[in-house]
């Protein structure tokens, strides 16, 4: 038997065949890459390094789709004017599958082979794989998760979503508008996204005088059966059911379970991606009054003078036309809004190079955030003022449709309750010096 096994060793012919096949495959890949690098000289490439497949893709793929609309619109108008010359924008995507190792590979490809000038990321588990490259190459990166920020991450900015701090606005609005709600229960997936968000909600509930009926329930990200999670959450009959920053794959079954177990109280969540599907699976009545933080961009409230996002209603209509309204998610507009900020900074700097753009972006300590003028902030919480913070919308589902009920100020809440936030962040080990 062993002799037979020996006989089946890699033969020279087989080796040559395999090598030739691999060589052909690599050559094909290499050719593809060269084509990209021979693109027009007046085109500026922007990297998009996020999960495009897998369980976290809902916070990557819709963002890239939104960016493609942004690029089409900007390029149709002649591109971004930098240093007196117009430049077309081209996005180069890389699926990091929410894995640090693949994020490292993607970052090196985007920087060294595609020659991008700026890289947008979701962040979280993938940032540590990229951190060293960002520092070595001096590349400007953006993240949607400011918990990636530390005093060392000098070329990393969080210019759009200051997750999870904006969650305080939803709780504050609830406390002001539904004064009968006195107790809450919270659950989250036990990961880098769930914990800081739980700390934020705990601080916000405490500030609002709402008591927790139980300790936060952390479930494993591999959970597929949410019936026992919901049973435990509802056991002490909370007035508010808080779904924290659960991924869409968890929010949907959690809502279904709450519906099936007869819950009729208030629900609050950071996101409600593809909420129409939840309405279909439950009912309009059940979802009525559901509070979350991410508006549909066909909302007339976004046409307010102070909102800086360009043509939000048209953007939403185009997105719905290309990809379907049900595919709209929390991040569909976010990366595009970061591009508004980048284009503005590049125009001011007269250069697309990362250093000058970052300097122009942070000049004066303020910036034009999608939801209004905001300030660069974060020293106390992240150790560096690289998060752009201002107003954030509170969104409520009414009649099966998301509607903005108010824009509330995050800095105003912070000025009043910063100690509470730091207390809960510290308790869960989420301060920058604990991470």
């Amino acid at each position: 038997m062993m002799r037979k096994t020996l006989d089946r060793k890699l033969s020279r012919r087989k080796f040559l065949g395999t090598t030739a096949a691999s060589g052909a495959a690599l050559a094909a890949t290499g050719t593809g890459l060269s084509r990209v690098s021979f693109a027009a000289a007046d085109t500026i490439k922007i990297g998009f390094l996020a999960p495009l497949t897998g369980p976290v893709s809902a916070w990557g793929k819709p963002g890239l789709d939104g960016c493609l609309i942004w690029a089409d619109w900007v390029n149709a108008k002649g591109g971004v004017k930098i240093g007196g010359k117009s430049h077309k924008i081209e996005f180069v995507g890389y699926d990091n599958e929410y894995d640090a190792g693949k994020a490292r590979t993607g970052a090196t490809k985007l920087i060294k082979e595609d020659g991008v000038k700026f890289i947008m990321m979701l962040g979280g588990d993938t940032w540590p794989g990229v951190e060293k490259i960002a520092a070595r190459e001096g590349m400007l990166f953006s993240t949607l998760l400011p918990s990636d920020l530390t005093p060392d991450t000098k070329t990393l900015v969080a210019p759009c979503e200051v997750h999870p701090i904006y969650n305080v606005t939803g709780v504050e609005w609830l406390a002001e508008n539904k004064k009968n709600l006195k107790t809450a229960a919270i659950c989250a997936q036990d990961d880098a996204l769930g914990k800081p968000s739980v700390a934020t909600y705990l601080a916000a509930f405490e500030a609002a005088g709402i008591k927790m009926v139980d300790a936060p329930l952390f479930f494993d990200p591999a959970t597929t059966d949410f019936a026992p999670v919901m049973t435990k959450l509802l056991a002490k009959k909370p007035d508010i059911l808080c779904l924290d920053t659960c991924y869409a794959d968890y929010v949907h079954p959690l809502c279904e379970q709450a519906f099936q177990q007869g819950y009729k109280g208030q629900i609050i969540s950071c996101t409600a991606d593809f909420y129409q599907k939840i309405v279909e699976k439950t009912s309009k009545d059940f979802m009525e009054g559901f509070v979350f933080q991410f508006p549909d961009f066909d909302d007339p409230a976004l046409n307010a003078k102070e909102v800086n996002f360009v043509n939000p209603n048209e953007f939403y209509a185009e997105y719905a036309k290309r990809f379907g309204a049900k595919e709209w998610s929390a991040v569909s507009w976010e990366y595009a809004s970061i591009m508004d900020l980048w284009a503005d900074a590049a125009a001011k700097a007269g250069s697309a190079e990362p250093g000058p753009v970052l300097k122009a972006m942070k000049a004066g300590g303020t910036g034009k955030h999608a939801f209004g003028d905001a300030k660069w902030w974060g020293k106390e919480l992240f150790g560096i003022d690289n998060a752009l913070v201002g107003n954030w919308p509170v969104v409520v589902i009414e009649g099966g449709k998301a509607k903005i009920k108010a824009f509330k100020s995050i800095p105003a809440w912070w000025d009043k309750h910063s100690k509470l936030m730091i207390k809960h962040m510290t308790a869960l080990g989420q301060m920058w010096n604990q991470r």
Binding site: S11, A25, L33, A100, G101, T105, E113, D125, K132, A222
Partner: protein, 345 residues
């Protein structure tokens, strides 16, 4: 055509010489390979070399007939141990890598007591449960494991600078050669073990465990030995990963990742030493280079799944069976006309 009776005595040395020649060509190709790749493809090559060790170590465990769902977690034990030793205690990285491997082996030795009371499907489920317990420990104890976020800024391999020679292991091409040396040495050891009396005993336990017991083989000890050795090398693979990427977290060692190892092993085949290696190389090149190069990023899971289904349907013995099948086909083609001629005569 030489007379087989005359050629037979020279067959052994000739075969050995060809074998050595093939190895020389293989190593020459592996030495040249990174210089034919782009920078990001070099990064992929580093991770591929590490995964070759992971899947080869997994095969050693399967020799005894047991398939585990905890092998990636065991890799994680090596990664966490090596990272913590270097980061917290300042242990030199090469030494921490070795100790990480030993910690993974030690964990396997402890787990073998409950796990090898089970066999087959029950062992599979038991190994999954044991792996999940370890992952929950990493998540639960933020100090020292970093909780769900895991560990980051893990010390890299120290650069070598002797004045005339400077090697920066941040560069993928340098780390590729470092990993290649470590993995080649590990594969050599794994290969020798499989060819040894111990390896034969592993095979015997796989196919006839009752018979092996009846002739005095302590199947528990041999299964434990396979598990411990496989885990040591998985731990080394974990250490290589941690010190290269600079970050580890519990999700990186989840059952999702384990499915990839199973797919590599199944698609490649586990009957031969090179089967799983073929699986990981072919699938990684397709998944990470070809499909990405063709701009099919978001379609990759679909295509990957299709490849798995097709290979199970049409290549049930794995890619490793392609060579023998091709040889048999060629022999039939060559033998066909000859046989017909013989009959005519």
């Amino acid at each position: 055509m030489p007379d087989p009776a005359v050629a037979a005595p020279a067959d052994g040395p000739v075969r050995r010489s060809f074998g050595r020649l093939r190895l020389v060509f293989l190593f020459a190709a592996l030495a040249v390979l990174p210089y034919l790749l782009s920078y990001s493809q070099q990064e992929i090559a580093v991770l591929l070399v590490i995964n070759v060790l992971l899947v080869s170590s997994y095969r050693l465990l399967t020799l005894t007939g047991e398939w585990s769902l905890g092998h990636v977690v065991i890799m994680g034990v090596g990664a966490y141990a090596s990272a913590l030793l270097a980061k917290r205690l300042g242990v030199p990285v090469p030494l921490s890598l070795l100790i990480g491997g030993c910690m993974a082996a030690g964990t396997a030795a402890i787990l073998s007591f409950p796990l090898f009371r089970m066999k087959g499907f029950y062992f599979l489920i038991g190994s999954f449960a044991a792996g999940e317990i370890i992952r929950l420990i990493w998540k639960r104890f933020t100090d020292p494991f970093g909780g769900p976020k895991g560990l980051k800024r893990i010390d890299a391999f120290p650069d070598i600078d002797t004045g005339f020679l400077s090697i920066d292991f941040y560069e993928p091409v340098n780390y590729y050669f470092l990993a290649l040396v470590v993995v080649s040495a590990s594969l050599f050891v794994l290969y020798r073990i499989e060819r040894s009396r111990i390896g034969l005993t592993f095979h015997a336990i796989h196919w006839q465990d009752r018979l092996a017991e009846s002739v005095g083989v302590d199947t528990f000890r041999y299964r434990t030995l396979a598990f411990v050795i496989a885990s040591f090398f998985a731990g080394i693979a974990g250490g290589l990963y941690a010190h290269y990427v600079g970050a580890v977290n519990p999700t990186r060692f989840s059952v999702d990742q384990m499915v990839y190892v199973l797919v590599w092993a199944i698609v490649g085949g586990t009957a031969t030493f090179h089967g799983p290696i073929l699986g990981v190389v072919v699938l990684t090149v397709i998944n990470e280079m070809v499909l990405r190069g063709l701009g099919l990023d978001t379609a990759r899971p679909l295509i990957y799944g299709a490849i798995l289904i097709l290979s199970v349907l049409y290549l049930p013995d794995g890619l490793e069976s392609l060579g023998p099948r091709l040889r048999a086909w060629l022999q039939r083609r060559r033998g066909g006309p000859a046989a017909a001629g013989g009959e005519a005569a």
